[in-house]
Structures are given as C-alpha cells and as structure tokens.
Amino acid sequence: MKFIMVPQVLGQMFRKPFTNKFPAKYAPASTTNFLADVAAGKAELIPPIETPENFRGKITYDRETCIGCKLCIKVCPTDAIEYIEENKKIKIYLSRCCYCAQCNDICPANCLKMSNEFLLADADKYAKDLIVE
C-alpha cells in the first residue's frame, strides 16, 4: 500500500482552513438575535468574502432621474417591476428579481445600478428590504 495522500494530509493539518466562517465561528441559534447582538456591540461579526467588481447584488434605484419610460418592465424576465401610475415611477420586488441586470442595460436614464449588497434572504417576501422604490 502506498501512502500518496500523506503529504497532502500533513499539509492540510497546518494550513489555515479555506472556509470563511461567516457570520460567526459557530452558527448562531438565531440569526436575528445574533445580528441584534452585533448591533449592540455584544458579538463580533466575521465579514463575508469580498464580492468581485461588477457583482450583481441588490438593485439601487435613483428615483429622481427616472423618466418612467417602462422599458425595464418590458425586458424584465421575471415581471419583478411594477409601474406606479400616479407618479410615473417604478417599484422593484426583489423577491422576484433574478439579478440579471438587464434593466440596468436598457435604462436610458441610467437610474438603475447593481450594488454589492447580497444578504437579502428573508422569510417575508414583501419585507421592506426586498422592495426598491
């Protein structure tokens, strides 16, 4: 029997693990409570791995420059965008969004951008965080 794996195993023992233990070394029982603790300064958050450039995260919407042309609604593959007739602006439901950034490309006023924010999981799909307007 040959021991070809031995160098790899020994090397692995002394190397720092590749896994980034986000958000804490041990998974908290309740993420919400953990985040509250972090806000109060009681616990420390291990930051996530940095996102690369041009990452497609949460959409940001510049309400002022929007001209209400409805082009984004036309290309959105998931019907995530709603048009508000009264003020001729849009409302984006991130719970439907597939983060393809197609609306960013078609927008003639450049009012839609992708940010780096990606922690968007929520039990409530109409949560305040998941609606951009």
Partner: protein
C-alpha cells in the same frame, strides 16, 4: 448522478442571495433538461437482461412559457433550463435568433463567447469527474475535484458577475467585455488548472480501483453510438469523430487550432467503456485550457455587441419573420435550439433539444449484461442531466420493485469494496 435538484440553485445560496424566484422557475427548468424519463431494468439474478427507457414531455412547459416572452426575456428563461449548461442554452437560442434575424455578430464578441463556452466546459467536466468518483464511493476525489471547480466558479463570477446563471448572453454579442486588465486573473486560474491537471489525471487514469470499476464496463460500440445518435464525449469515447465546434464551426472556433478528442489519442485504442469516457472528458479539460489561451492571445479589438441599444434591438426583433437553428457543443454534447419568429413580439415557436436526450438511448446497449451495482457509474458516465431518475423500477421474476437513488448508490459502493478486497 447530477440530478440533485439542489445543485441547480447552489450558487445563489453561496452568496446568500437566494430568494424565491430562482427556485420556482427552476421547477419547470429542472425537468426541462428536456428529459423527464423513467427507466425499467429487467434483471436476471445480478445481471441486467433488458433496459426500457421512456422519455416524457415535461420539457414542453419551458418552451410554452417561452412563447409568451420576448427574445430578451427568453435568454434568462433558457439559462434556467440547466444550472450547469447555463451558458450554452441561452447562447444557442441567441444563435438561432441571430440566424432568423440575420444579425451579424462582431468578431470580438465571437472570441469572447469562446472564453465563456470553454470555461463552462472546464467547470462541467470537473464537476462530472467528482460526481463519477462519488458514484463508485470515492468521496475524497469528489472533494479534490470540486476544490478545483471552485476556482473555475470564482473566475466565472469575476468575468460575469454571477457564479452559475451567468447572464452574459445578448442577441448579437455578449453583455460584458473582457478587458486587458482582466487577463492576469484568467491566466492565473488557467495555470492553476494546468498545475493540478496532472493530479487529477493520475487519480482517474492510474488508480487501481478506478480502473477496476471502469474498464470493460458499460461498453458502447461505435456502431451503436452512430445508430443511436449519441453526442458529445459519450460518442467520442466510442471513437466517433463528432464535435459541432469542428463540424460546423460557430463563434471563433473556425480560427482556433484544435482537434477531436478520442481515447486513442492517449491509449492508442478505443474500447467505448466508462474508462474511455473518463479519458475523453479529462483530455477535453486540457483542450479547453489551451483554447482559452489561444483566444486570449488572438483577441481582436472592436465592438462586443452588434446593437448596443437594447430597445432598438427589441424593435428589430419584433419585425423578424423567419426561422433559425442554433447548434452548440455543450459540455455534454450538441445542444439544439429552433426558433420561429412571425412578425410578433414573442416567438411563434421555440424548441429545445438538450444533449442528454440523445445520450439516454445508448444506456440500453451500455447496461445490458452489466450488474445492478454498475447502473450508477454507467449512467453517470454519459453525464445525464435530469432530476427524474430518482427511482428505477426493477422487474424480478415478473414482480416489480423500486430502487431509489440511495439504494443504488449503496450497491455501487459495496461493489467497489468487494473489488478492492
């Protein structure tokens, strides 16, 4: 097998960006590896005496949905047909629409398309290698190869902004450029693959256990491969020289220097067994690395898309009348998209034929005469992509019984242990 529905939304979980829509759309999508199928194995003791495959129609759902969306929206729907082929499906749809509309793609875009296509092939083949090792109970190799795949995913994220559903396709070009300052990262990743390729080759092609399980197992003869229209690595492992990249060059493949990968390149003979299919896939990883290097060297300057104004592109596509076919060599074989446009916002018809559809029938000659414990590795060797194989029916003494995936996997591991003992 690669049929775990979880694997299709793994990427977005990784970034925590996992929200409702992805899951629901992939539901039709997961069966929309356009095969919903079901196998029946007739067995005699431990031996399989007959195999019966029936293909379903669940994939029609995705095509039907597509007929109510404009071509740009379909790009993202097509992306969700398969989580691993999330580039070749929208791209061959784009090829079909370009053919129908007569859109001329700029040269630089053609080269950029090759980069993504080959990166996807590397990703898919390495993933497959890990799954194949897992099927025979060799889980350390699964982790070793997926560690390499992680680098490929990181590069995908760097180039496209997403890890799996790349969203890089646009009708008439690509959506994102690869600039000069991005080259070092690509070359660094390619060098990493080259350094680690030897390790992978040694494990898969020289390891005793692997050889015992794969040599002379699941044989597909050249005649059967031709007769049953097998595609991709499955057919090349049987010695059939069939590769869309060379037979009908698309993108910039016509300008690049490469050749058909058949197992005789390495061993000097063609057996058409599982071992040969492993050889072909491993050599293709190497070939893809070389192709990517060639593309980076030769990249011409110019536009990355034929029509940068998407609103104008949509207006043009609305007036198109005609039909088009898009063919591409996906990691698993030839993928085929047919589109008919009839002067309307939505296509009149859209038909998808994924490679697994062709590679299912070859299972019959491959599995006849093999043992039940060989089903997982033989089936996995064609790189099937569907989620409905969770159960197989076994007819024994005319009594029907079912084996689920876990049961089959257990039998497969037991056989490996038996052979080693």
């Amino acid at each position: 097998m690669r049929n775990d529905p979880l694997c299709s939304f793994e990427p977005d979980v990784g970034r925590g960006k996992f929200v409702g829509w992805n899951v629901t759309v992939r539901r039709p999508g997961r069966a929309g590896y356009p095969v919903d199928e079901n196998e029946k194995f007739h067995i005699d003791g431990e031996k399989i005496s007959d195999v019966d495959v029936s293909l379903g129609h669940v994939h029609r759902a995705v095509e039907w949905t597509g007929m109510r969306r404009n071509p740009i929206q379909i790009l993202y729907l097509a992306e969700r047909i398969c989580g691993i082929c999330s580039y070749c499906h929208p791209m061959s749809f784009a090829l079909a629409v370009e053919r129908a509309a007569g859109i001329e793609v700029p040269e630089r875009a053609d080269y950029l398309r090759v980069i993504q296509a080959e990166l996807e092939r590397i990703c898919s083949h390495i993933l497959w290698a890990g799954v194949a090792a897992h099927e025979i109970g060799f889980d350390t190799v699964l982790f070793l190869s997926w560690q390499m795949r992680e680098k490929a995913l990181d590069l995908t994220e760097y180039l496209t902004g997403n890890r799996v559903t790349k969203g890089i396709t646009m009708i008439g070009g690509v959506r994102r450029d690869v600039t000069k300052d991005m080259h070092p990262k690509i070359i660094e990743t390619l060098n990493y693959f080259k350094d680690n390729f030897e390790k992978l080759r040694k494990i898969f092609l020289e390891d005793k256990t692997f050889k015992m399980r794969s040599q002379g197992c699941g044989i597909l003869t050249k005649e059967d491969a031709l007769k049953l229209c097998a595609v991709g690595p499955t057919t090349r492992a049987s010695g059939v020289k069939k590769d869309v990249r060379l037979d009908q060059p698309y993108f910039a493949f016509g300008d690049l220097d490469f050749d058909y990968v058949t197992p005789d390149v390495l061993t000097g003979e063609v057996n058409g067994d599982v071992y040969d299919r492993i050889i072909v896939r491993l050599l293709e990883v190497k070939q893809s690395i070389e192709l990517m290097e060639q593309v980076i060297d030769k990249m011409p300057a110019g536009e990355i898309t034929a029509e940068p104004k998407i609103a104008k592109l949509l207006a043009t596509l609305k007036k198109v009348e005609g039909e088009g076919v898009g063919r591409m060599e996906a990691p698993r074989g030839e993928v085929f998209h047919y589109v008919k446009m009839q002067n309307h916002e939505f296509p009149y018809s859209w038909k998808v034929r994924a490679p697994t559809y062709n590679n299912i029938l070859p299972w019959i000659p491959m599995l006849k005469g093999e043992q039940i414990a060989d089903i997982p590795i033989v089936a996995a060797s064609t790189d099937p992509c569907m989620s409905c194989t969770n159960r197989v029916a076994i007819i024994k003494n005319n009594r029907r019984s079912y084996l689920n995936k876990e049961e089959l996997h257990r039998l497969s591991i037991e056989k490996t242990r038996r052979l080693r003992a």
